[in-house]
């Protein structure tokens, strides 16, 4: 099904798009670097990201320590790079879980909205459960979960997923509600598609674009939430390199003039979130047949 030719076509669309959109191209590069860093980061750093050197605490940026050292004498550059893995894994897995659970449930909730029968009741039940989840402020929900199950990356992933399922779901649902009135859905019914097949074969591909666009936002949000929870001490514990906890530990020294422990992880976090939001935009464009045709015919410029 996915032969070499189709991937070549996709690639050329991507290249065409990036050539005419420099900001997106920059974001794309940042995302690719982030992903590469998440894979190889811990192996290429100059110093150990988890071991402090006694007597070398709070050194300013220098030749040896590019981003300086923190209160524990740990190399901030090494920690910032190694943190890619922690933050990205938590955010990406959390966001993907939210997408893969939220979107299909949203399609069901939307397509069968207001109908009678089994799926109609399922639709109603899904919405009520979402109301319950959304009644909690996300951060408080996160603190509760961490208090109940202890701080660990797995719990953070679970948290990000749970916190973002309602958003994904409602977006997919509203798309499904507007799509189900379309003639092509009626045609699909007329040729003999079952209701579930219509929902997942005809509605889902058309409803998914904005949900995928949301994915990047959710990832950015996931990084922020991880950082936020780590900041208050409920996320990743200190020797593990993680941007949020690094920013938090640098907060105390900020007022005495040592800005570097917080600044660099903050900068990298901001760059990464930007990169992913651009990536989301690129994906939205490339999965739309209309945009792809525009790109290859060159009428986009």
């Amino acid at each position: 099904m996915f032969s070499a030719t189709t991937s070549q076509i996709r690639d050329s669309h991507l290249v065409l798009y990036l050539k005419s959109h420099p900001l997106q191209a920059f974001g794309f590069a940042v995302s690719i670097i982030s992903i590469v860093m998440a894979i190889i980061g811990p192996y290429i750093v100059p110093h150990s990201p988890t071991l402090g050197v006694p007597g070398k605490h709070l050194l300013p940026p220098s030749h040896e320590y590019w981003f300086g050292t923190d209160v524990n004498g740990m190399c901030i550059f090494s920690r910032t790079i190694a943190a890619y893995r922690t933050d990205l894994v938590i955010a990406v897995v959390g966001a993907l879980m939210a997408l893969f659970i939220g979107a299909p449930l949203g399609i069901i909730a939307g397509y069968f909205d207001g109908k009678s029968g089994f799926w109609g009741s399922v639709s109603l039940a899904i919405l009520r459960i979402m109301d319950v989840i959304q009644a909690f402020p996300v951060f408080v929900l996160g603190l509760l979960l961490v208090a109940a199950f202890g701080p660990s990356p797995q719990n953070l992933i679970f948290m990000i997923a749970v916190a973002n399922i309602p958003g994904n779901l409602r977006l997919a649902r509203s798309e499904a509600i507007s799509l189900r009135e379309k003639d092509f859905v009626e045609s699909a019914r007329a040729v003999g598609n079952s209701e579930l097949r219509i929902a997942f074969h005809h509605i889902l591909p058309n409803a998914i674009t904005p949900v995928i666009a949301l994915l990047s936002v959710v990832m950015g949000f996931g990084i922020l939430l991880t950082a936020g929870l780590s900041f208050v001490g409920a996320g990743v514990r200190v020797p593990t390199p993680e941007w949020g906890s690094m920013i938090a530990s640098g907060g105390t020294t900020m007022i005495t003039g040592q800005w570097w422990p917080s600044f660099f992880p903050g900068l990298f976090m901001a760059l990464t979130i930007f990169g992913f939001s651009m990536l989301g935009e690129i994906i939205t464009v490339l999965i739309d047949p209309l945009e792809r045709i525009k790109l290859s015919s060159g009428s986009d410029t």
Partner: protein, 318 residues
């Protein structure tokens, strides 16, 4: 031989506070094998609702729909699946009725997949066959609907309807959203497909010219009822019902010598909400309405050879 018989079809859509929209109020008609029934009337007269009931996309409130002698209103799931192959529908909006995310090939393959044609090469053979029938070349298979012209989009919709070899196709205003230049070719295509496959059509439209060209029989609808029925020539040359006369008077025919007499309709179609059906529904706009028109609802009765009309005026004349 009759392929479809609709008896006393009613469809009401419930709205708020226990009220209902009376979309179809007792429609009877038959469709002969290999022939076309033209269903005409203005917007909101219920012609589309009739079409969707026939395709089992809506469930009638009352009445019977006999397809090849069997009632299809209440069907079991497997029975319905078989029926889907036999009765197909083509919609008005050529772009809207094609899934924008699917290639033409996927759109055409789908009815075969759902109907259990599992061998891919068999499906592709059939797709190629149907593509030849609608006069598109194989290059169109890997295109998205947005890349086609309106006429080509409508051809693909028609191809999707014909791919399972249906015996009856409901054409729900298939030409009314098209540019004029595509209209003619779609009508010709539909006529040719009918000759080649021998299937029957219900052609729903408000364009009397197109209906005249394609139909073997015409039923004029007003407010959920058939008011006049007969062969196209008879209905067009000697319209009996005042509504048909008004409809024809409002139509422009591409013939400068043809002058039609009639009157312009005044006022609006009455609201179909909680329609009583105890009077002639057209009486409020009819220039020749008399007391009897407000007292009882006229039935379809024969007014000429194979020509039926539902008007009190006619009763008093005979």
């Amino acid at each position: 031989m009759q392929i479809l018989e609709v008896k006393n079809l009613h469809k009401r859509f419930p709205i708020k506070k226990g009220r209902s929209v009376y979309a179809v109020n007792g429609v009877d008609f038959t469709v002969e094998q290999g022939q076309t029934l033209g269903l005409v009337g203005e917007s909101g007269c219920g012609k589309t609702t009739v079409g969707r009931c026939v395709c089992h996309l809506l469930e009638p409130t009352e009445g019977e729909i006999l397809f090849r002698g069997k009632d299809i209103v209440r069907l079991s799931k497997p029975g319905l699946k078989n029926l889907r192959k036999e009765i197909q529908i083509v919609f008005q909006d050529p772009y809207g009725s094609l899934n924008p995310r699917k290639l033409v090939r996927q759109i055409l393959e789908e009815p075969l997949i759902v109907n259990g044609v599992n061998a891919k090469d068999r499906r592709l053979r059939r797709v190629a066959e149907i593509l030849a029938m609608i006069e598109l070349d194989n290059g169109y298979l890997e295109k998205y609907p947005i890349q086609l012209t309106q006429g080509e989009q409508q051809r693909v919709s028609i191809a999707r309807a014909f791919i399972t070899n249906p015996r009856l196709v409901v054409l729900d205003e298939p030409t009314s959203l098209l540019d004029v230049r595509f209209r003619g070719e779609i009508v010709l295509l539909l006529k040719r497909l009918q000759r080649e496959t021998g299937c029957s059509y219900i052609f729903i439209s408000h364009d009397l010219n197109v209906v005249y060209q394609i139909s073997h029989r015409i039923a004029v609808m007003y407010l959920g009822r058939v008011v006049e029925e007969g062969p196209p020539d008879t209905v067009f040359d000697t319209p009996n019902h005042p509504y048909t006369q008004a409809l024809l008077a409002a139509t422009l025919f591409p013939d400068p010598d043809q002058r039609r007499t009639g009157f312009a309709l005044k006022g609006e179609v009455p609201s179909p909400v909680n329609l009583q059906n105890d009077q002639c529904n057209f009486a409020s706009r009819c220039p020749s309405a008399r007391d009897v028109c407000f007292e009882s609802s006229p039935k379809l009765r024969i007014v000429g050879e194979d020509h039926y009309s539902a008007c009190h005026e006619q009763e008093s004349n005979t």
